[in-house]
Symmetry: C2
Subunit: 403 residues, 2 copies
Amino acid sequence: MFNERNYYQIKSDHQIFDNIIKEKKKVGYYELPFIEIESLVQYAASINKKNILVVGIGGSSLGTRAIYEFIKPSRKLNKNLEFLETIDPLKISSCFKRIDLENTHFIIVSKSGKTVEPISILRYIYSRVKLVSSNCSVITEKGTPLMHFANENKLKFFELDSNIGGRFSVFSVVALLPLAIVGIDIKKILKGARDVSNDFFSKGEIYSKIFSKARFLVENKARFNINVLFSYSSSLEAFNRWYVQLWAESLGKININGTRQALTPVALIGPIDQHSFLQLIIDGVRDKTISFIKIQDFADSTLIPKDKNKSFEYFNNAYLENLSFNALINHQADATIESVKAEKDIPFDVTLIPQVDETSIAKLMFSYQLLVSVIGSFLQIDTYNQPGVESGKENLITALKKI
Amino acid sequence: MFNERNYYQIKSDHQIFDNIIKEKKKVGYYELPFIEIESLVQYAASINKKNILVVGIGGSSLGTRAIYEFIKPSRKLNKNLEFLETIDPLKISSCFKRIDLENTHFIIVSKSGKTVEPISILRYIYSRVKLVSSNCSVITEKGTPLMHFANENKLKFFELDSNIGGRFSVFSVVALLPLAIVGIDIKKILKGARDVSNDFFSKGEIYSKIFSKARFLVENKARFNINVLFSYSSSLEAFNRWYVQLWAESLGKININGTRQALTPVALIGPIDQHSFLQLIIDGVRDKTISFIKIQDFADSTLIPKDKNKSFEYFNNAYLENLSFNALINHQADATIESVKAEKDIPFDVTLIPQVDETSIAKLMFSYQLLVSVIGSFLQIDTYNQPGVESGKENLITALKKI
């Protein structure tokens, strides 16, 4: 029949798994759960400043924030982690007003070591406080301008491997260094990621779940072009943002046949957005799949108390008395899931996080990275590049040079 | 020809404007810019607590936050405004750890006056601090359980008209009360909204822009089902969330012909997300329209300084020296807009906010409310109800009663 073609079929799970195995030799993030971190842990322990300020945009900060903000509300950490991830004048001013610069350790993160935004902030910081080996670490690829800057100023330099993209760098020094400094157990983080990796590559339960989800999303991508993450805790807000970046930047691509691919991520906080966005899900066009995330045990026993003030009877909701907020939020989640389920034609899944700790969030994040890799492989795109953001960067530099 | 039909054509601008004029008599938000606020301003001035805590979910807090977080970074306000908008145990605990309850004025906002979440929080607050006329105000509809509770406990009660929905309540007492207390000029807020209203209803420039945008979105809703807001300042983050709620809950509806309608909102922060989500916009499927929002004058003159440290030369970006962050963020925005424009087939518009003040944000928000009303009228839906969120609420109460 034909001698040439420019279309493709969706491959079998077996073929995709083979692709992933091949990819594993080139793409750096797969090996991160197995890296040696003893010296990192020791260096982190030597930092004695009260504030840690991470300067980095996108992949250089979102993963770190996702883990930090998940853990922080339920843990007493003895250091304060801050992020400068934008050149917004109002954010920069308020950040520098809030923190004591003399008692701050700066971590400058830039893969290319020359991105306009973090370097602008670095220049500004340098005018406020001299950066030296005892108050600044630098994370960048080998050979970048930032590495040379670090070496010349004797700043501690950590190398980021060139085959690890920003949005896949959460299990590298990028997130592990700041997290370790503030007292988060990075060994447990890697343990969680390792568990997922081992299950996936031995074709266990996680492998099956990831493949069935990826295949469904790819086979139905024209119909369900929007994927909604519905996280039932505000502590997952930064995780939501990390997910949006991972999904959008990895999967918004032109594939090998020159066809535009896109699964658009939307991320919501359940207890808030079930009062609004849920309307769009229930009555709107059927163009969305929903992924619910629930936390089983918040390790918080705060109760809605019973009060002897009679006027509470107006509310006619004695069923709330002595209920914990932990139970209430999970009932809320279940009620929303039930509403979605009752519609019958909205595809959804539910992920249960057993508790608020390092292992749980690491498992969730490594699973999502694998899911994105598998979807990308099904779509026959390059999951790891980002040609579409480059033109904006070039336009910016061209404009700045003309000033 | 036919004697019956169940389809419709998109109506003319003239017909839609007539609809809006009719709607104006029933839907309360249109008249809010013209309300009398003297007594509200006086009451606000009488509150002398340091912290103001708004307890309210969705429409009861998002609009307030949008204005507060836009103004706050660039203004010295003498009170601290906090929000409890979720029953997340971790959020509740951290909020009550952070603020001094004795020095706090509580504002309980619930339209129906019986929503499980704010009432649960109210019960909890009451167990920690006695609510009396001097530390608590209540905003709810007339005749609700919450109104009765307020009256019986002699709390200050503000009535919310029944024809003003939560997501259209930002120019009512819901937002004006807390904003006035912390020192934001609510007269200027209403002035901004009035200017927009007057222009729109006299078919001025804003009228033309709203109608042309609404018509485009409706005519192309099947092709471009996602609307991306690309805001160039972190101070617009809460505005973004307000927009997502307004858009999703108003426009995700079944229309008069039984057809599911949906324009899905996605909200981004430019300086951060242009490094990631932009990839999906540029190379992904053409299913998105983009609305950029830029702030012209941040009233911040922070410069990226020139430093005599020679090692900065490695970065080869002397063009940054003595550039203000204000100029840089706007160059960033322009570079991204240029990238999108270069694609030629991505519909976009750009809104310029002249400065960070009450009038600017009010104009933006009232314009968006009118836009949503006009789109809703074109789609022949009920823009102001939310039947799709009710089933979740009912499921929750049913489950709680069974415990």
